[in-house]
Symmetry: C2
């Protein structure tokens, strides 16, 4: 029986949990090997820039998206003139998203714009109904609410199909679920997900639902006759480092519904500082950037490379104080959240219906 | 862990296998207790006759359908003016049905006619795709072929919805699958079906597909707003006594595609006789009706009670010979199969489409 859990190596990695021994750091190099991935190195970042004719996204430039499987094959095909499609998703378990939830969607939007390719977004309301014990109706309501946040990220309705499992499972999609299920033993699933015999069978049944969108034949209204179309899946590491200011306090996360005052309070109160304990020491030794949460957040959300480098240098040398860095982060996050809020407020029910309509997308590759 | 397999009691009963120790007879009284059923006794048969205003079906009169769960509750509700619906189905694993396959459909047709209630018939093409390793396309082709045989049994298109899982799973049906899956642990399913960890997860996922049709909300086009409608499920014992002439030879089964000559050959060659080994002994001792296969078949398919009783008496007393009984059985079966063949030949593709269309059935209760 295969077992991808990493307990024996001092870190636990399951689809739901990522934790290092004694609160230490996750060793992603180990994980990359264990999961059969490759590092997303500079030459690949350069290749993306060359192929798309635009600067690589900040998440690529700064190694936020750091590993891949077969991305080179997708790019080889793309270079030969063969397009691909993107697949990502969300399990709608809460009303509001935090910034960590937005990261994969921001990156996916960049990929869609840069490569001009179609995108399918799966809302796994069935999963959350089963795992979080929500009613079908509540899961579907949350799926629709989350769809508004996703649409607010700026996806192109002429290239994007958002679907709820409860609405969309069936037909060709269900046929693919059955075909996938035939290829996977119970032992295999237990090895990957760590289920027990007392878990309900909905959990055991779910992996094919999440795997089906990676096959173009699951979307006959989009990809009929394109059975060999490749699928690229941007996904997050689910370990929440971008989501929370403090690892121990879930309320410290910055939500897209937070006010400017909330953001200011959370950054000032929870964002662990790598600065020294007195101004004198700080001026003398500088900040420890490795453990500094405001610097980590700026690395995600401050787009200007020169300014980020300037802050890192000045802060690291002790010439800039934690308060100044936090002030800048508060500005950046407030602007991001305000922009998202405005965009979300502009998302109408009709727009949600339009994104979720089962329809052909005639210009999705152009 | 629950274990409904009966091995410890000298007989094996799983959803796929029924076998008594050393080829002996199945003890159905034991099974009725074990599965929490009740005997379908004479008072219940009389009650059905009274409520429907017609003589009970031969399968009821002769104990072919011999057990039930909560049938009295369904009849109580029916007497109060509350209708119910029928649910039965077939796993389409072969082109042609044998007579044993027809039995539950013949009985279901009687129930539909007698109670004037709607009927849903599930064709589990997904199941056969997974268990028999058929392709999706072949399973669906067989489902449609089998639908023709089912329609040929005489179901009323104004009260009958036939569906293929590959076509119909989704929407409200899928929501019910998820709700059911949440209520059933892996251990429970293993206890009932005997899966192993090396079985693929499609098997583990399947029970909710088969359970969903027993909830009226799985069919919003039929039962919208009737969430408390009861469901009655006629089902066979799957042990094949009616299907085969000889327990050891599957080719001995009488198929609905057999010619008159095939039937004659099979009855004469394979139908084990309870008659004596010489005419002298037969005249003297009579036939052993308990082990006589022709008598068993006549019990199923000869409708005339008086004639059946006459044959039993004369044959049991040795005044009638095996050859005469077999001759009568050949007549009965040939007529049945010929009638079925004519009815099936009259089933057009348009009729199959009509039965399988997702549509309301406005007069299904009248």
């Amino acid at each position: 029986m295969e077992n991808n859990n990493q307990e024996e190596e001092g870190q636990i990695v399951t689809p739901w949990e990522v934790a290092a021994e004694k609160g230490g750091k996750i060793d992603y190099d180990k994980l990359i090997d264990k999961f059969g991935c490759q590092r997303l190195d500079q030459s690949l970042v350069d290749r993306v820039a060359r192929l798309t004719g635009r600067p690589p996204h900040v998440f690529l430039r700064r190694g936020v998206f750091f590993a891949h499987r077969d991305f080179n094959d997708v790019l080889d095909a793309y270079e030969r003139g063969e397009k691909f499609y993107l697949y990502t998703g969300r399990g709608p378990s809460s009303e509001a998203l935090h910034l960590g939830h937005l990261v994969p969607f921001m990156f996916t939007k960049y990929l869609q714009d840069a490569f001009k390719v179609p995108l399918v977004i799966q809302l796994t309301d069935d999963e959350k109904c089963m795992w979080k014990n929500l009613t079908v109706e509540e899961s579907q309501r949350l799926a629709r609410e989350n769809a508004k946040d996703i649409i607010a990220c700026g996806f192109d309705v002429s290239r994007t199909f958002i679907f709820s499992d409860f609405d969309y499972v069936g037909g060709s999609f269900y046929k693919n679920m059955v075909k996938i299920a035939k290829c996977v033993t119970y032992n295999k699933v237990v090895g990957i997900f760590g289920f027990s015999g007392e878990d309900h069978i909905g959990k055991v049944s779910f992996p094919p639902v999440q795997a089906a969108p990676s096959f173009p034949s699951s979307f006959p209204h989009l990809f009929s006759g394109k059975d060999s179309l490749r699928c690229l899946i941007p996904c997050a590491i689910d370990q929440g480092e971008t989501g929370k200011m403090s690892a121990s306090d879930p309320n410290s996360a910055i939500y897209v519904t937070d006010s400017a005052k909330d953001i200011k309070n959370k950054v000032n109160r929870y964002a662990f500082s790598g600065g020294q304990d007195s101004i004198e020491n700080h001026r003398k030794y500088g900040a420890n950037l490795e453990v500094d949460i405001p610097i980590k957040y700026l690395g995600f959300f401050l787009e200007d490379d020169a300014e980020l480098e300037h802050i890192r240098t000045e802060y690291g040398a002790g010439r800039m104080l934690t308060g100044e860095v936090k002030k800048r982060l508060i500005e950046v996050l407030t602007e991001l959240v305000e922009r998202h809020r405005r965009a979300r407020a502009a998302v109408t029910d009709e727009m949600v219906d339009a994104f979720m309509a089962v329809r052909p997308l005639p210009n999705m590759f152009s």
